[in-house]
Amino acid sequence: MLKEKLQKFFKIDRRWIFLLLAVVLFAPIIKPIGLPNKTISRDVQHAFDYIDKLPAGSFVLFSLDYDPATRPELHPQAVAMVRHAFKKNLRVGVVTYIAGSTGLIGQIFATVPAEYKKVNGSDYVIFPYMANAVAVMTQMASDFYGIYDKDQDGRDARTLPVMQGIKNYKNIAMIVSITGTSMLDYWVAYVGDKFSVPVVGGVTAISQPGYGPYLQTGQLKGLIGGMKGAAEYESLIKEPGKGTSGIDSLNLAHLLVLALILTSNIILLIIKYL
């Protein structure tokens, strides 16, 4: 009798589970719980330290390659790292190899530079979308302007104050690749290793474990993983943003997954040995 009742749990309409998840996700967004982010992971700390130690005026190339699908995890990372770069008075260049990123990059640079009184062309520059990332990366090694002769607004890149003294990777202090694709692997393999340019990454939580080998060998100087990584970086630069505010929902959703797996397996055990 009990066995049959328990078996009914496995036949539960999945829409109830969908509803439960929706409540768990929305409730903290409407009324934040404010759970503290207790630890800063080693790789996020390394990423922060690396940027923090760069001298003012250094040129950092941001490769922002994510589209709206991975926006909740990666956009807060990009915003936090751009903020950090501006705070440290670094020069910022932005490239992308994902067409869907262009609008998201526009959203970042429509608001963030103004907070730090940074000017397009003098303090930062956005380059247009390019297809075929590997060919572009290889080309930039010899002559940056062989590929990017104009910025997104059609201005001659060579004459922009922000690009003064930049000819190829030798003049670039660091590359930051924030991506939901395999673009970070390309930056490590085709640029970081070959031309000795330090590379820092930002990836989705699901792909984070795959970059362990690069971190151990020092091919990656630091790595931000998922929304938690973004929240950690925001706490390091003392600028709470979307990463910090999304942590409550992330907390409860993760624990819901664990609770569901445990519940189903406990029921299974009871059915088996009853």
């Binding site: 297809a131 942590i247 993760h254």
Partner: protein, 222 residues
Amino acid sequence: MKLIKKQIPLAIVFFFGVLTLASYYVPHKVSVDFMEMMNKWENIVSAFAFFLGLISLFYSHYHKISRKADGWGYSLFVYIGFFAMVVPAILCHGKLMGAAGQTALGWSFSFMYNPLSATMFAVLAFYIVSTAYRSFRIKSLQAFVLFMAAFLLILGKVPLGQIIWDSVLGWTGAGVDQVIEWIMGVPAVAGKRGIMIGIAIGAIVTSFKIIFGIERQYMGKD
């Protein structure tokens, strides 16, 4: 015919394959210039590949609609989606629209592509949670090990999980972040490194097979 369809393409692949490979290891101006030229060619060919892909996409969906195949209605949205993005982009000439302060393409991106793309991905979360409940069965030792690793990673990835760990297992002196760092730094890296080495060797072997004309599937059936 065999010369044009087979031998000349194979010779081109061999010639440029060997030269490009050699250029990687030769830091001389000639090889750098050669790589620069090849990169520009690659970009031009990629642009044409985009165009070819678009034609192919339209052609296959046109056939689906004309034959009224299953789900042909969805094919209509391929055209609607494409023109909804492209037509405003061409018509607006980069000019900002009145109160919105955006170009027409920017508006389409922010209010059409952005929410649609995000929704598609977000829906996955609901299916993952449902599957976690209905399908994750610990029926063997391997499944148990997998579950324990996943359990610890999920627990350690969120602050609430860290609080739970500290209150239940805090007496052990080991933090959940240390346990995660070990899982990520030792067994996960070992597995990933093996996969990466395997993929790299496979890619090298396949490249050599293409350069030396052993692998010819890219040339088609004729």
